[in-house]
């Protein structure tokens, strides 16, 4: 397969920009990032794009391909209607820096505000812990997150309503869930998730889950259990305490 294709790439900076067309030969097995690299090497040497691993492991090359939040390195041209131009736009939930590169520094600031891992005392005299694989597996799903921020990009609270000051977004709800459900962690983040994290803003439209390149069930497995935990710990601490005392397990524990 060798054919000509057109790529319509947004070019500009924080002051504004526009879509620009590039035409090039494409061949079998190419992904969108390959096309962007070829354009960069042959037609637009100063084109700005982030990438590192090119194998879906680092989450650097996030962009919107034909309007869908995607990792460019994992989007095969054969999965797109190539008779039409392929439109590539930077993520819209964050300020653009240049071309396909956004300023995602807000995410790094959010993470610092979430109380870190706090382990229980070691289980064995040699200072190590014992954990069941089943308990580890439950959290593994969240720990697969590659911090591509596509879930943040697609979340309407951030994308449409720009509530960056009040809502930490799906990525950091997943992060909080990974800590809260860590078999060793004894920290508590429920009140913070409610008061500063804005978990109440999430109305479970599952857009984040739909775009996650790691297939994390963000809404069902992370956000909903966290919401239950918030209800328990912030709004109904007495019945929670009773449950703990009587040893009855609640849905969120």
């Amino acid at each position: 397969m060798m054919a000509q294709a057109t790529f319509r790439i947004w070019r500009g900076n924080s002051g504004g920009g526009e879509l620009q067309d590039f035409t090039l030969d494409v061949s079998e097995g190419m992904v969108v990032l390959d096309a962007v690299h070829r354009i960069q090497a042959e037609q637009a040497p100063d084109l700005a794009v982030r990438w590192n691993c090119k194998a879906g492991k680092c989450g650097s090359c996030s962009a919107e391909v034909n309007g869908m939040p995607k990792l460019m390195c994992m989007t095969r041209l054969s999965s797109l209607p190539m008779e039409r131009p392929v439109t590539i736009h930077p993520m819209k939930a964050f300020p653009v820096m240049k071309d396909l590169v956004c300023d995602v520094s807000w995410n790094y600031e959010v993470k610092k505000r979430i109380p870190p891992f706090r382990p229980r005392a070691p289980d064995a005299p040699d200072g190590t812990w014992r954990m069941d694989q089943r308990d580890v597996d439950r959290v593994m799903e969240f720990r697969k997150c590659i911090e591509c921020y596509l879930c943040q990009d697609v979340c309407h609270v951030l994308r449409e309503h720009h509530k960056h000051d009040e809502f930490i977004g799906p990525r950091f709800l997943v992060y909080a869930a990974a800590l809260e459900m860590h078999p060793l962690d004894e920290g508590t983040r429920a009140r913070l998730l409610w008061e500063e994290g804005g978990i109440g803003y999430c109305n479970i439209t599952k857009c984040c889950t739909a775009v996650c390149p790691e297939g994390i069930h963000i809404t069902d497995n992370a956000i909903i259990p966290l919401k239950e935990r918030v209800v328990d710990e912030v709004f109904d601490p007495i019945s929670r305490a009773l449950r703990v005392l009587t040893g009855r397990r609640g849905a969120a524990t």
Partner: protein
Amino acid sequence: MAEYRTHEYDVLIIGAGGAGLRAAIEASGHGARVGVVSKSLLGKAHTVMAEGGVAAALANVDERDGWRVHFADTMRGGQYLNNWRMAELHAREAPERVRELEAWGALFDRTDDGRILQRNFGGHAYPRLAHVGDRTGLEMIRTLQDHGIHQGMSVHMECTVTRLLTDGARVAGAFAYDRERGRFLVFRAGAVVLATGGFGKAYRITSNSWEYTGDGQTLAYDTGADLLDMEFVQFHPTGMVWPPSVRGILVTEGVRGEGGVLRNSAGRRFMFDDIPELYKGQTADSEEEGWRYCTGDPTARRPPELLTRDHVARCILREVAEGRGSPHGGAFLDISWIGEKMANHEEHIRRKLPGMYHQFKELAEIDITKEPMEVGPTTHYAMGGVRVDPETQMSTVAGLFAAGECAAGLHGANRLGGNSLSDLIVFGKRAGEYAARFAKEHGPGTFDPAAAEAAEREALAPFHREAANGENPYQVQYDLQEMMQDRVGIIRHAEKLQSALEALEQLRERAGRALAPGSREYNAGWHTALDLHNLLTVSEAVTRAALLRQESRGAQSRDDYRGKDPEWGKLNLVVRKEAGGAMEVERIPTRPLPDELAKIIEEMG
């Protein structure tokens, strides 16, 4: 004098992968003010791509394991050119560094009794790799990143150091630009830790990201430090070979650890055909024994697919050269065959190798639970790098430290899988600790402002060149990669190496004409032009050392000097800049092993 935004730290760490972050945590813990400079966003470094696991003799799965066995395996894998003291420290300290990661929140797969599970890997006598499915690197870097941000380090993301600044014979800071705006900045520091990783981008087929351009090695070399063992470049035997756009992307050795086998186009399991003398006693002599090993039978010996990487890579090349390769010039790696041995193999594979399953499904439309993969060698790791003191990780320049892939010594002629992640945390910690101590004892240095101004002029040169005979930096980089792949690749020969040196001279001349059109803001072409100096420097060092080492050992295979030469087995090669600016290579004798360590190797052999 020009005004630069200036930051002052006790310890400046260049690189934010596993080694850099571990160093930052340690230096902060010693009370140092720490700055970390990262070429990419935090958490995106090459460490994130490490799949298989971190080697540490925890002996959780096989109690015969211990630091002595790990030490002996590492020395044997490195063909005894390793710095034995580094190999000893590494084997002794890795378990504690892994347990510490768990205390910071890392979650590893578990044994039935709840301890950290360990898996088989090439060259390791017993299951030794603590792992998380096949995304151990992600778990490790995220743990270090998340722990580190609460330890008080300042992180300068998307920032590139182009020159180190010195105060007489010691390091005093660094000159850098920020990628976003292209502005220059100056770091003053009492000590500097290089943790920039390797230089696989000098080759066309590579598992490495754009960042792997030999920055740390070049910064050190340009400052007068020694480089060591630069000829030893590891070609990982299993990179993807199809489709073309993913060529080089890594397929973890964990696939073979879990029972994956290599076959040629005739369906023959060719790894049984050539087992090196050094490993005969430890290698299975039947397919059945190999499978038992992969299922954890302690009485079984490892299958030949788990021989060292250099050997497996050469065997695949031999099959291809003799016309028995796969359709796209590699070999078949098959894990789906274990369906013959277990009922629920599809689920087992997806659980043990989720990343690989995903990668092949998405990028090659192959279901690895049902079909074999096509794989071939890919440039993966630099055993060579900055020569360091084994205890402190200080280079031959005072106050300049190096750790991780950027440093040399631990791995000798060839690195065992899993020994990289453990290297990062063992020597990252040491570098951070001793850099903090150095900074405290010696205070900040001062540097000549003219040096920063010279660095600025040098950095801006690609914007000011004549367009008439200008070069496209991407094209120069591409031509360099092709040339190195062809002439300084897996199989080397004096004539080709000599011609590579001539080609490098021409490429250097072309790099001097590389242009950067556009503005200074996030200009990838400009950055590519600046990276060329580093790529050319390390490429020349590899080529010169490869030419001088007239033998085949570990990762170095010479067509014209086949086999090991005992004399060369006692020599390391040091590369440094002569007073006149030329690159010189010097032979230095390896340090003799102390008796007690020699005895360990003898007993474990």
